[in-house]
Amino acid sequence: MSRAYRIKVRESMTRDIRAEDCIKTQIEMLEVLPPEDMAELLAKELERRGFERQEDGTLVRNGDGVCVTVEPCTCEVTVAAETEQRVQLEGTREGYGYDDIGPSGKTIRERLVSEVKADLERRAEQSAARLQSEATQKLEKKLAELQPEMTKVVNRVTAEALKQKAAQMGDVKEVHEDTEAGTLTIKVEV
């Protein structure tokens, strides 16, 4: 008479998962002054807003796991979001063997281990996908915040460039700036 016996396996896995998302785009600025002057005005405005100038000339601001990098010469903006997480996963599987028929206990154990590992891999992939989704949401949120800020940066840089250009052209008599309406009026005597 055959006798059934239970086989139980347990496996665990620790994995460091890293997810990132990054976009590069260009901000458009009018070339009121020569490119190097416009780049310097842009850099100064960004520094005023908490960006740090790097050795390679780019300006970087980090916060909430998102890094914003601006290359003032090309006006290229890179926004990169990263998340990291250490996941610890455990799984168990049970099976039954019989002492007189069917596959041996070793075979059953190997199959169960393989199934548990596959399950752990699947769960690790789900965690990675979830983390990736978080990184992307972080990036999208940052972009939504950055868009109005960059608009103001461009407007201020353009206004400052216009003032400098006007000063080069002649004697500036009056400057009237209405930031609410988005207008700048400069009277120049040439």
Partner: protein, 378 residues
């Protein structure tokens, strides 16, 4: 009726294989664009050891008359202005160019290709000439053959061969067919921007414009994100290489089809949904990949900036400069197809894709409004 006349009218006799091959060749030429093809020979035929003189005569006759008729019908009949040695020349294709400069020559490779294709593309004897050994006539034949068989099993076999992967005309007209091709050899456009190849390009301008329009208009039926990306990459490669070659050889008139197609396609009311509205689901998980697909969907618009750069250079070309006539012809095309408006519409559409669109309204609570007057003294 004398014996000589009877001899001239005696029908030529060809073998079964040669007859099938001639039917196949006549399926390639001549055709009016859109004309349905006669049925292609089915199955694989065994090529004979030798081809008859009558067959060679008929092939030559078909090629010489068929290619000319095809090009004339495709667009050569149109009275257009194109460049000849840096000067504008007006008229039909054969009026703009002396007859001796329009001659198409075909090498042994053309005959071998036809035999190889009719025999079912056997491994042996293989047909694998290098691009350098093909004449423009040979390459035109390959283009016509590919156009005829591209939706058959033979078409998918041709797409894997280096000759077709590098064939500039094929890649320009059918970039979507090569979207999944892995290899990336340089595309040959030098053949098509100089000499008789450029004349062929002139005749095919309506075909180029028609195919480009068809491709762009069908993009919003593409639901697969990967497919959209691949098509965009293939289009970008072809257009970039073609425009670079046209610029190098000082033949901006050959890019007229792009202006013509875009002037028909782009209107101020268009939104990016025209291209990407058909993409299914939310797409790849990463924003970077979704943005890349969107950008590739509108890749043709990115090349408008290159044409705008040509225009800026043309406007700065003086009367005494060498390229004055070239510049004036380009400016004439630019105005005819409302180039400045195309630039504005393209930039507006490309801006819609970008995540940081500068110029949007700043929310009122972000910064209190200020109003001040400054006196700036030098």
């Amino acid at each position: 009726m004398n014996a000589a006349t009877v001899a001239m009218e005696k029908p030529r006799s060809v073998s079964r294989f040669e007859a099938a091959l001639l039917r196949m060749l006549r399926a390639f030429v001549p055709r009016a664009p859109g004309e349905p093809l006669p049925p292609m020979p089915a199955g694989k035929l065994v090529p004979p050891k030798e081809l008859s003189g009558d067959y060679v005569h008929l092939v030559k006759d078909t090629l010489s008359k068929g290619c000319v008729l095809y090009l004339a019908r495709a667009g050569g009949w149109r009275r257009e202005t194109h460049l000849r040695h840096g000067k504008a020349a007006f008229g039909r294709l054969w009026e703009r160019t002396p007859a001796e400069e329009l001659g198409l020559t075909f090498s042994q490779h053309a005959l071998n290709f036809l035999v190889w294709l009719a025999a079912g593309r056997p491994e042996q004897p293989a047909w694998s000439p290098s691009v350098e050994n093909l004449t423009p006539g040979d390459q035109l034949l390959l283009f016509l053959a590919y156009d005829a068989v591209r939706e058959t099993e033979a078409g998918s076999a041709l797409r894997n061969r280096a000759i077709f992967i590098q064939h500039g005309l094929v890649r320009l007209v059918f970039p979507d067919d090569f979207a999944i091709v892995q290899s990336n050899p340089p595309l040959d456009f030098d053949t098509w921007t100089e000499g008789v190849g450029a004349s062929i390009c002139e005749a095919l301008q309506p075909r180029f414009a028609q195919r480009l329009l068809m491709l762009e208009r069908h993009k919003n039926e593409i639901g697969d994100w990967t497919k959209m990306r691949q098509i965009g990459i293939a289009q970008d490669r072809s257009l970039a290489a073609f425009l670079a070659s046209a610029e190098l050889t000082k033949r901006p008139d050959l890019a007229r089809f792009l202006l013509r197609a875009l002037s028909e396609l782009l209107v101020p009311e268009l939104t990016t949904a025209f291209w990407i509205g058909g993409l299914q689901g939310s797409g790849p998980g990463r924003l970077a990949e979704r943005l890349e697909v969107h950008r590739h969907a509108l890749v043709v618009l990115r090349h408008v900036e290159r044409l705008a750069a040509w225009t800026r250079r043309a406007r700065a070309t003086g009367y005494l400069d060498d390229d004055y006539a070239i510049a004036q012809l380009w400016l004439s095309d630019w105005e005819r197809y409302r180039g400045d408006e195309l630039v504005a519409i393209s930039n507006q559409l490309l801006r819609q894709l970008e995540p940081l669109q500068i110029g949007g309204d700043v929310p009122a609570d972000q910064e209190p409004p200020t109003q001040h007057v400054e006196d700036i003294r030098q």
